[in-house]
């Protein structure tokens, strides 16, 4: 040991004695190198990316939040920096997993995550996406162990709880938006209770459908619905054709009645007019007109018909078993009247 110590001072002067200025130079080079080494070793700066936020702990205690850019820091054990991506929209997949974002995207379906009971004790298969963003990086980093998987647990519990309140038919049709909204509210409420410091942006039910084994039964319902609307459409078509037809018939009936009225009145007027004309003539010369009319009629009636004329032998009537009363009485009597 002692030999080794003695050798150093002896060797240096013998080889090349250094003057004080040279020693100072060597020392300053060493110091500069050491400082550079220390700077890189402790790295007293950090960069926060555009989508991130810098959270600095000094001696373990929360010290400051910094915006994107280049920042100074005290070396490692004194200050610790976290840079959570606060702008990034994070995504939770429930019921499936994106194996390869593609294109074409490939997914792995996880039935144990996606099959759930509905409020009417049916089973529905539902896949869901939840999007969120960190709103409070301090809470996000320090309040919860593994915030992301915690949110996934919350999301899964919320989805089942909400769907458990709806009927299977509501889950994929009219209740869908309501369900998504209720799930979002539920996740947000629990996340706030845990103080995770996130904002749930969107809950989306991807594909809600019945389990494979009962799919045909659901298709049958769809067919029945179509049949129902078809049969109703047919009935509507029947109504749409029958009613105009009936309207036509009604019009026809009324028109016929009107025609009858017109005809009836015209005819009556015509006949009355003729009668009135005759009457006028008759009143001017009653005797002659009456005789003329009578004789003219007889003329017309007797012309061209086979007839047997007999004298005023009443027996012949008896022979034919006829009586003068066989003629219309009015005619007979008038005939007698006129005759005198």
């Amino acid at each position: 040991m002692e030999d080794w110590f003695e050798k150093i001072p002896i060797d240096i002067p013998t080889r090349q004695p250094l003057n004080p200025k040279q020693i100072r130079n060597v020392i300053s080079i060493i110091v500069v190198l050491a400082v550079v080494f220390l700077i890189f070793a402790f790295k007293p700066w950090f960069i926060v990316d555009a989508d991130e936020m810098g959270v600095v702990l000094r001696l373990g205690k929360f010290n400051r939040v910094v915006k994107p850019g280049l920042h100074w820091r005290l070396p490692r054990p004194i200050e610790i920096v976290y840079t959570p991506a606060v702008q990034e929209v994070k995504r939770i997949e429930i019921g499936f997993k994106t194996v390869n974002p593609g294109p074409p995207a490939r997914y792995l379906h996880l039935p144990e995550e996606s099959e759930m009971l509905t409020g009417d004790e049916n089973i529905v298969v539902s896949e869901m996406i939840v999007q969120y963003r960190i709103t409070d990086p301090v809470k996000y980093l320090f309040n919860v162990y593994d915030s992301h998987s915690t949110l996934k647990d919350i999301a899964e519990a919320s989805e089942r709880q909400v769907i458990g309140d709806y009927a299977i038919d509501a889950a994929w049709t009219w209740g869908r938006e309501e369900i998504e909204d209720a799930i979002l509210q539920s996740i947000q409420a629990i996340a706030d209770q845990y103080e995770i410091g996130v904002n749930i942006l969107k809950v989306q039910l991807q594909d809600v459908h019945p389990p494979k084994p009962v799919e045909p039964a659901f298709l049958a319902v769809q067919n029945a619905r179509e049949e129902q609307s078809q049969i109703i459409n047919e009935a509507d078509a029947y109504r749409n054709s029958e009613i105009p037809k009936a309207e036509g018939d009604v019009k026809k009936i009324l028109q016929e009645a009107e025609a009858y009225r017109a005809e009836r009145i015209a005819k009556s007027k015509g006949e009355v007019e003729r009668f009135s004309a005759l009457l006028n003539e008759y009143q001017k010369a009653p005797e002659v007109t009456r005789t003329r009319l009578y004789l003219e009629t007889l003329e017309k009636v007797l012309a061209g018909k086979p007839k047997v004329i007999i004298g005023s032998d009443q027996d012949l009537f008896k022979f034919f078993n006829l009586s003068p009363q066989g003629f219309p009485s009015g005619f007979q009597s008038r005939q007698n009247q006129e005759g005198r």
Binding site: P9, Q161, V250, R261, I265
Partner: protein, 357 residues
Amino acid sequence: MKKQHLIYISVGAAALIILILFLSSVFIVSEIDQAIVTQFGRPVRVIAGLSSFTDKDAIQKSVDEYSSNSETNIQLSYGAGLYFKIPFIQTVEFFDDRILEYDSEATQVTTSDKKRILIDNFARWKIYDPLRFRQRVTNVFRAQSQLDDIIYSQLRSELGEHELINIVRSTDNILQDEKSTIPEQKLIPVKDGRVVLMERVTERCRKAALEYGILIIDVRIKRADLPDENLQAVYNNMRAERERIATKYREEGNRDSAIIKAETDRTVKTMKAEADRQAQVIQGEADAEAIRIYANGFIKSVTNGPDVIIKGYESDPVFYKFIRSLEALELALDEQTNLLLDTNNDLLRYLNRQTPE
């Protein structure tokens, strides 16, 4: 020279020793940590985390209790920062100050209506009293089995008291859904429901876990599924229900169609009947009018002249009878009529005579 070297070396060694002493006498408690300083295994200092879940009174109480029992004075402080200890003699144990995960294996539970369900639940908890936690649980890994015992028994006993539908549903929301096609017998209002029920479980578990220095924040059901052997039965029910709904749609279709057709037929008949009635009225009026005209005549308006009075039959019934009889005679005696006439009538009487009477 020799002496000077020795001084350098001893100064360097002293600096190193001081550095080591310094480093082993300070420690950093971060925002995510809590810590206990022990001296030969005996706690002397507790640094509890500071968050909205922190209950200072409870921690103070348990620290006081421990202090009086073991006759040592325990220092209590809160929150992250730089802390000191006696080097080598005292050691630090860190405990997580965040909300921690608990996830159990899915377990089968039998409900009060004798249905089996597979419950997969999770809980979130935190170490709220590190001293008590250190004493009774030791560390986070052992906490899992402690939580298993507490949560499993509470969950099982609570869920066993309820029907399946109470565990699935939280509200009676489904009863208000007018569009739903759920059969009547399934529309039973829930008693409590999942949310209330799980709040009760959480409350009980929380009470039970407090003595371990654990604060259970909540216990939730992640999944409540039917075991595979029950699935078939549910599928059969679902099929039967779908068939019922399909039949219902078809029947509704037939019914609606029949109603529409019947209504159409009725409307058509009503329309025609009404038209017939109106036609009858019109014809009746026409007949009445005609009769009036026949009897009383009418006033004929003539263009470019005074109205003309046309007389009806009533103005001379005898004359009417006369000419109407003549008309009738004319019509009654057609081509086929054989006439047998005697000469005793107005026309033929002149066959025998030549002078008018």
